[in-house]
Point group: none
Chain length 405, copies 2
């Protein structure tokens, strides 16, 4: 890892206090001009968010760096103040954390997709027809009952959802120098995990052997007759959120991925609501005995991924209606933002900066008239990177000492 | 020290010329919305600063990094183009420079507070009732007449003001691996300077012995019966301002701290006025035979620290009235800004970006209508870090070569 000078500076200045910070993430809320030249945020009726924008400080967040589209993991690490370029983790570990798999320090985890290969061994469907969870579980049982394990190694398979699963290898001396086997295309065979530059890894060879066995065990399956593995990784040894910032953190998140990234930095999950109402209610509750609450609302991103402008507007309005419950709980600093933009026209995550509003003491006034991409551009926070947001909130909450005399 | 890539780039491009740059620092001038929703700068009648803002380039300076509140030393180093996170110095050295103590290369300096300890040895008053300078001098005389020195070491005590003093140790082989003894709290004893991780430092052991002696010598004093020491440090070996930028610098500063930080980078002090009139008059004079003049006006910060909004407005207006004298001297580039914000509502330094205006050739127009936090937000300079300001001024003064062919 490169040097995390800014993060270490903030950490060195952090001081404990009972002031509370709430970070409400409307996943993928940022967008670009769509229907009528407006973004979903601009088109939505959001009296509560607009009032917040008028009284709070507004701005835009660059999730990673100019032009860089983040995955959910890095986007959230940035919001937690961990530079996502310095703090990188494999997909396997994120999956394990999301499934609440008790990953040990020496374990190596990988994300699996069941897939369909044709008679020539080429990938025909990278998602095995999106088999139901049930079939996923059945196929995993079949693998486990027939798999011959290498000496001294335990192997875990765990159903995630549809065609997705988790693979964990446990044993002494394992490494994560293992190649992805997903060719990211159909009509070609899976890649070998022990191809160069991974040919000297004992674990890569072991993975190759196990995947070969799985292919034979599943040969008679109509759909899930092979696995594709990616993101082999060990749990990173990073500074824990609570120690780094002298905060007592809690996560309120209904989806595995976000629980996983919270746990990755040691933020315990205290509730798993998925509705806007539920997220705001649980976050409001969590303030009582935590000084940092991360609350995650998924559905804006889902609507963006589906390219459904009207649904995204509706989800934004849903959160706006739920917001008073959270406001009433009176966090000392309240942030509402997204982890990244998910423009409906792109049907995917994007690099566009994300609007942010912060209710805090010691502001300068002259803020945005509403909470949207355009109004936030001229706000007091300006355009900063996501990793600067938590330090700014800590400053407003009186949680950072002066630097130097 | 970490890599100072930007500073070294600027240094490599610097070229000598007779154009002049004046940096006028209104200490702590930035603020947040206070009386009537306005900041002191917005509330003050400042025709000269406003005219400057209308004709010049405006912007905001982040002193250190987002969310970080600077002390005076780091804040000024940033304005001098030295990244404050890379160029860190102990408080003792700053005190020594401020008192014009002729610090030698191998000296170790520390900042002292006289304090009151109770019979159990616990700190009862960290400032010894803010004893007058006279009592401070008397007590130092008492220490010096009774202190037994370790072999080969000279010890200097110098009165600063009230309860504050400077300690300097001189001798071969001294180090600055010495712990602060100020516990930053009352009801607990002073800390040992040679506690871990300082237990292997010969100088720390020596400091412990000297402080022990001082406690005995002052045992019968009613108020100043002990000392607290912090910021043990040696003079850093940094690039000198004149060489780094090919500028002939001068400092006009009435307060020790700011003279000290100027000398730290080799800027000689040519005058020590404290009034706005005096600062502008002396800076105007200094332009005649210097190409960079740092002029410091303290009282905006003092008013902010006192939480006195009306006084801060008055001090700002005082500087505005004095400004024509400096403008008339015709510096090629004139900057007016602060080192940091000192909001009246916080009564302390803060992390808020600081308004800046620069009168210079080659501007784009469409500037701020007045000089305050809100208007400057939309200005030509944008929001930059303090360390970028001097390079920008040098560019405008034609003092930077083109980079590359």
């Amino acid at each position: 890892m490169n040097e995390d000078a800014y993060g270490e500076l903030i950490s060195s200045l952090a001081r404990e206090s009972d002031k509370s910070i709430v970070l409400l993430v409307m996943d993928g809320v940022g967008d670009v001009a769509g229907r009528g030249g407006r973004t979903p945020l601009a088109a939505a009726g959001t009296p509560n968010l607009d009032a917040l924008a008028g009284a709070g400080a507004c701005g835009l967040l660059v999730p990673i760096a100019t032009g860089v589209t983040p995955g959910s993991g890095p986007a959230h690490l940035g919001l937690f103040g961990y530079d996502p370029v310095l703090y990188q983790v494999g997909r396997g570990v994120l999956s394990a954390l999301g499934l609440e798999f008790p990953l040990e320090e020496t374990d190596v985890a990988a994300r699996l997709n069941f897939c369909t290969v044709d008679e020539a061994g080429n990938v025909a469907d990278r998602r095995a027809g999106r088999i139901p969870d049930e079939e996923n579980r059945r196929v995993i049982g079949k693998i486990l009952s027939a798999l011959e394990l290498p000496a001294g190694v335990e192997v875990f398979f765990q159903t995630e959802a549809e065609h997705r699963a988790l693979l964990v290898l446990r044993g002494e001396g394992l490494d994560d120098d293992v190649g992805d086997t997903d060719p990211q295309a159909t009509g070609v065979p899976p890649l070998a995990p022990d191809r160069p530059p991974h040919e000297r890894s004992r674990t890569a060879k072991m993975a190759a052997g196990l995947i070969g066995q799985v292919g034979k065990i599943l040969a008679d399956e109509p759909r899930a007759n092979m696995i594709l593995a990616r993101g082999f990784a060990k749990h990173p040894d990073w500074p824990k959120f609570a120690e780094r910032y002298k905060l007592k953190p809690a996560a309120v998140a209904g989806y595995p991925m976000y629980r996983g990234v919270a746990r990755l930095v040691g933020i315990p999950v205290v509730a798993q609501p998925t509705t806007a109402e539920g997220v705001c209610a649980e976050a409001a509750k969590a303030i009582a005995d935590h000084t940092f609450v991360f609350a995650h609302f998924k559905y804006c991103d889902k609507a963006g991924e589906d390219g459904d402008f009207a649904e995204k507007v509706r989800r934004i309005e849903e959160m706006d209606s739920a917001l008073p419950k959270l406001l009433a709980a009176g966090p000392d600093v309240l942030i509402v933002t997204g982890d990244h933009s998910t423009p409906c026209s792109l049907k995917a995550h994007s690099w566009h900066p994300v609007p942010v509003v912060m209710r805090a003491p010691y502001l300068r006034g002259g803020q945005a008239a509403r909470f949207d991409e355009l109004a936030c551009r001229a706000g007091e926070i300006g355009t900063i990177t996501s990793k600067e947001l938590l330090p700014l909130a800590m400053a407003h909450a009186g949680k950072l000492e002066k630097f130097g005399a």
